[in-house]
Symmetry: C2
């Protein structure tokens, strides 16, 4: 399939790039041309007129638990531990692999409406999840969710060996849930797998202050220091959340090539705190943004996350100049792709993956046209997503003003199935 997108405003997100007028050509899953309009005799299967709307790399959601859609809005406004122990864990225990397959599809519908073209996922039943994403055509990088209670280190190594050769859309990296849900011995075994496979590792770190205090009580050091000491990050990786870190932690993150995935909406709604994003960036640490799961957020909307990430940084710094719009855009495009180990999805350029979005500028919230990147971050919304393309395939569009979902099932079938799952489990 060869596709040509003409008459577009384009933001490639390459270093120093500015919006320009041009066209994009795609062959199969890859971009073959990005630049000024060209005269060509080449035949394309489809020509899309962007009508002066904006095309940029697809948004990446660098941390999520997709199948938690069934718990969305079921138990909000509760203290964190009561929520986890009474409203999350008991219900998660009832999930089957088939439930997770369907609940992931519901999340994928929402990713597509939000212009998200790839996610980094941590949940149970990774084979069912890989199948769900593969069928839907959405890109996913899964990481192990191993901990003392589920997913052994052997399983993580098994999936590392098997889940990376199934599809161009799905991959698997080493991961474990968190320091506080894994024994020291368990963590040492994860480090051993990472060392043998020369692989990065991904895990929740320092989401709440109590977690940090408990780790210091257990091991005499912060979670970051403890995990580094255990050799978890010999080949880099990333920490999810990293809200409560010390200057020493920040040095360790930098020295060990550990990236940060921030989860602003979740950190806000669960009152976890505000991560020191500007300190990370100043130290040269790459930062991406994740929605976290829909039970904690409750939506999977990258536009809201972008605004929250800069807004929380501005409040923290006491300065409207903190964390400018372009930095936020990098976090959800090129930086995220590299952190998520899908570097070919980082920018729009020949040879790169055709994972891209088109943004409707002919909406009240985008008018008049001043600075387009500021508009995206400060006033963009899901309603502006005209097209979501993954691996050269249009998964979602609103070209004629209506929502069109291009998936194996209609949204209504997915809604119905997920409602039944929800009703069975929550009653």
């Amino acid at each position: 399939m060869k596709i040509r997108i003409v008459n577009a405003r384009i933001l490639t997100m390459e270093e120093g790039s500015e919006v320009f007028q041009g066209e994009i050509q795609i062959s199969g899953s890859r971009i073959t041309y990005v630049g000024a309009p060209v005269e060509t005799q080449e035949v394309f299967d489809r020509v899309i007129d962007a009508k002066q709307n904006l095309v940029l790399p697809g948004f990446k959601n660098a941390h999520t638990h997709s199948a938690m859609t069934f718990l969305r809005s079921s138990a909000d406004d509760l203290p964190l531990l009561e929520w986890l122990n009474e409203q999350v864990f008991p219900f998660e225990a009832k999930l089957t692999a088939d439930d997770i397959y369907w609940l992931s599809k519901l999340a994928i519908l929402e990713y597509a409406t939000s212009g998200i073209t790839a996610v980094m996922e941590m949940y149970m039943e990774p084979e069912a999840i890989a199948q769900s994403f593969e069928e839907m055509g959405m890109r996913i990088v899964q990481v192990g969710a191993a901990n003392n209670f589920s997913q052994s280190t052997e399983l993580v190594e098994h999936w590392l060996n098997t889940l990376n050769n199934q599809s161009e859309l799905t991959s698997f990296r080493i991961g474990f849930h968190a320091e506080y849900t894994c024994s020291e011995d368990f963590i040492e075994r994860i480090a051993d797998i990472a060392a043998r496979h020369k692989e990065p590792v991904f895990t929740h770190i320092s989401e709440g202050q109590p977690e940090v205090d408990e780790c210091i009580g257990r091991y005499g050091m912060t979670p970051v220091a403890f995990l580094v000491k255990k050799g978890i990050f010999q080949y880099g990786g990333a920490g999810y959340h990293l809200v409560h870190t010390t200057p020493g932690d920040i040095e360790l993150l930098k020295e060990n090539g550990i990236a940060v995935v921030t989860n602003s909406g979740s950190n806000m709604k669960l009152a976890s705190g505000t991560a020191p994003i500007e300190d990370y960036l100043k130290a040269g640490i790459p930062v991406a943004i994740g929605t976290d799961g829909p039970a904690s957020n409750n939506c999977l909307d990258i536009f809201r996350e972008m605004f929250l990430t800069t807004g929380m940084a501005k409040l923290r710094a006491g300065s409207a100049a903190a964390l400018p719009a372009r930095e936020v855009l990098k976090m959800v495009t090129c930086s995220a792709a590299r952190i998520m180990t899908i570097p070919d999805a980082d920018v729009l350029a020949p040879g790169k993956l055709a994972d891209l979005v088109m943004i409707d500028l002919n909406q009240p919230n985008m008018q008049p046209i001043n600075k387009i990147d500021c508009n995206l971050v400060y006033s963009g919304s899901k309603q502006n997503v005209l097209m979501t393309m993954v691996h050269g395939k249009v998964l979602y569009d609103q070209f004629d003003g209506r929502q069109h979902f291009h998936f194996p099932q209609e949204p209504e079938e997915i809604y119905e199935t997920c409602q039944k799952i929800r009703d069975r489990i929550l009653g």
Copy 2:
């Protein structure tokens, strides 16, 4: 015009109300029936099948400067004073009444897409603004923006006498910009007008800490205390922002019937701080939410404001249980209507104004159906707005999946005109 909305989930927002299945009947600008489905021989001009979607009172935006649309995304990420003095005031000085008329129309398009059915406005050229809203069919309560540099107290009194008898959609209340832009004598004259007309007064108060410190330096007391002492709030009113207040201020607000209009997005983006919303509610002070103007926010999206208001309260309290969803919904519906002096737009009930919205529950972000009010606040977005009705008239709908704007001009004409205004003023 008689309209019947059948097959709806309804949330009236009356005290203690829960979502139920039923229908709503409207005659002219008023609701005539809300309740269980009925058998009737009555003839309606239009029957709208809600298809099990949610109908609730329209959202109220209790503080905005609509015509600042021309500055949206023109100068973000700047320190506050540099932004105001170099990027706002010089350009505002070039606005004509006709510019403001058109720029307000652009904002109204956005209000409609966000389910906003009424706004409380503070800006220049209130006659042009009233005409703009009247033509568009959007409800507006204007307040004076009087200060040392523009809008005399005489003009405020003139508009109070003339702008309240023009239309059922538009009204005018006494207002002035802020303590820090008005002399003591000026403020005394405003208090005198309020006393003579027995009217509430609306103004910006304590948005930033420097403003509070300067007032203490000038008068030996906080802005709240100073304005109360000057008799500004003899007949109540409201303060916009009220971010930096003392326990003494909170007592004064309560004692003097002064309501709070919080502006979460603006306070975040301009790094003004986090208002003590829970303290206000605990003291029994009514609270509403405003977007503030599109130059500071940058969008006019009540869904984002709802999430930010509870999110910032949760972060401030360090508790996920702070400011539950239902409290937030009250702020943008019934509480806002009363604070904005349009009490007949507060809830869905016979005799009340037919200002209402329909929310699409058949979208990925609303599925599965758990608790609908939590879904609205925590995962709702503009894309869920199926219909915005003001004064019994449908201004905006997406009934067939496409956006339909029912205004005298097409959106494209408004976009083009506003772009020309922006280009003339900003170059």
